[in-house]
Amino acid sequence: MSTASVTHDVEVIQQGPFDMFRHSWVLAKRSLVKTWRTPEGLIDVTLSPIMFTLLFTFIFGGAIAGSTADYLVFLIPGLIGQNIAFASVGIGIQLNSDMSKGIFDRFRALPISRVAPLLGAALGDVVRYVLLIGIMVGTGYALGYRVTTDPLSFLAGCLLAILFALCLAWAPMLVGLIARSERAVQGIVFMTLFPLTFASNAFVPTETMPDWLAAFANANPLSHLIEALRMLWSGGDWHAPVGWTLLWCAVFVIIFAPLAIRAYNRKA
């Protein structure tokens, strides 16, 4: 070991009310670097969406909508909703691994807001959702899907989907913080998501379902998001579904964010 002299004059940025956001950003950058280093971790937002699009279009297209082209208009927003939900398991697994590897102990012993590591992880995930939406719409375009409204409406749909993903993410984050292994996180999240994604308007019109199931599917937050995307991208009155989607976003955050923060404070 060398014994280089250590100086103690450190320039410290003044502490202020924006610390939480600055620290979240530092930790979001950490997620981004990790994503960049292990691109295979992006399979669930790149190759899987392509596979889903191809499978659903050609298997169900004829049966459900009469032709693949007609089905795409219905399917692409539905698949985006489903894949956003599936991709949210990633953040739960990441938090669980951070916890088991002890890096959260380091963060918790630092003078930073207890929210920053969670918010940072969520913000770092934005890039995954951007990729997912881009690839899904791109694959759709290759198969003949077209956004028939205007670029602004398309952008609004993208932003709404990303916001929804970030708010929904607090639920898998909570699971990630309380489950005892990564495998458990995966099991719990998927077990919840499968009924949530299929008992929705993602793949078939809810009118074809029995009443009780249709009632569930119509109230399903994913159905509202998917309906909003269909209206924004293919035309129609988007006000109500967008409103419901935003309401659900708020509900997710109000319920799951405090629970996740509490779990993080307790455990880690």
């Binding site: 014994t3 450190v10 950490r30 990790k34 280093r37 890096i103 102990d105 012993a109 920053a116």
Partner: protein, 331 residues
């Protein structure tokens, strides 16, 4: 600040459901010193460290670290401490330098100072060559060093080292010891937990022995060893015909006329009261021209101390052979 202690804990209590992890322990680390907290697995060492590092709340008692109450002013405490846990808490997918930059940024250091600090720490810990590789490529020892470097990023006043060498091979362990000594030389106070008796002996000014959540002894290493009993003087004459002469000399210095014991074939030992017995024996052996191949004064090992205090045997460690302290004199 009114106290000269970097860490001060009184009556810390922590229960996990039915388990009483801490039953009211007191700890004190005088500024600039090293306190070794020694105990077997499950003794409560890590629980105590986690309370002092603000990661856990105590159910009873109170503690001050760097002058601030850990329960009332945790963020003030966090600004002044570094924590290195049993498992290296650094990000495997980032490089060494990125890890340090991240910690520095979270400590609100400016970009310039965080770069300078990272460079300085990487040099200090011999990690400059590996600085831009991800931690996945690091050896266990390198990870521990980076972990410690991360803990020192913000120039903490107090550093908690929770079993810093568990799982390291003996050579790496001694490197780590050098680093700890280096940290202390720079004025940092250290609370170190360990299962290795000789680690506490090598590093700590004071040692607290805890078992089942209770402090069972608190003293310096040397004094602790004396608790167990007297020291042992051992002599091996080179010529077997001089055994009687050796025995006579040993019998003269033995505590309370204790009998000379043949410790190993050809090696004789007696308990003695103090260090001066060694000089006396050397003088007499020389005067009577008795040649010896081995002559040593041994303190009991901390292992024996632990046994005396708890009545429980420690699991054997790889280095128990070197645990005893020896003052060898060639004659």
């Amino acid at each position: 600040m009114t106290s000269d202690n970097a860490v001060e804990a009184e009556g810390l209590i922590k229960n996990f459901k039915e388990t009483k992890a801490l039953k009211g322990i007191d700890l004190a680390v005088p500024r600039g010193s090293v306190l070794g907290v020694l105990g077997p697995n499950g003794a409560g060492k890590t629980t105590a460290v986690r309370i002092l590092a603000t990661l856990l709340r105590a159910d009873g008692g109170h503690a001050k670290v760097a002058g601030y109450d850990v329960a009332k002013k945790p963020s003030e405490v966090r600004k002044r401490i570094g924590l290195t846990g049993q498992y290296a808490s650094v990000d495997e997918e980032l490089t060494g330098r990125e890890n340090l930059h991240m910690i520095a940024a979270l400590l609100n250091m400016s970009g310039r100072s965080s770069k300078a600090r990272a460079k300085e720490l990487l040099e200090w810990f011999d990690l400059t060559d590996a600085a831009d590789r991800t931690l996945k490529t690091y050896s266990g020892g390198m990870r521990r060093r980076l972990d410690l470097a991360a803990s020192l990023t913000g120039h903490p006043e107090v550093v908690f080292l929770d079993e810093p060498t568990t799982g390291l091979d003996p050579a790496k362990r001694e490197d780590m010891w050098d680093v700890v000594r280096d940290i202390v030389k720079r004025g940092t106070s250290v609370l170190l937990t360990t299962q290795y008796l000789e680690e506490a002996d090598a590093l700590a000014d004071d040692i607290v022995v805890i078992n089942h959540g209770e402090v069972i002894a608190h003293d310096t290493a040397d004094k602790l060893k004396r608790v167990v009993g007297s020291q042992t003087l051992r002599v091996r004459p080179s010529d077997a015909s001089q055994v009687d002469a050796v025995n006579t000399i040993l019998a003269e210095v033995a505590t309370d006329g204790a009998p000379v014991d043949e410790y190993r074939p050809g090696e004789y030992s007696v308990p003695v009261v103090d260090d001066s017995a060694l000089a006396t024996v050397v003088g007499k052996l020389a005067a009577q021209q008795v040649a010896v191949t081995e002559l040593s004064l041994q303190l009991p090992s901390l292992d024996e101390v632990f046994f005396t205090l708890t009545g429980e045997r420690q699991r054997p460690t790889a280095d128990d052979a070197t645990a005893g302290e020896e003052q060898e004199v060639s004659a």
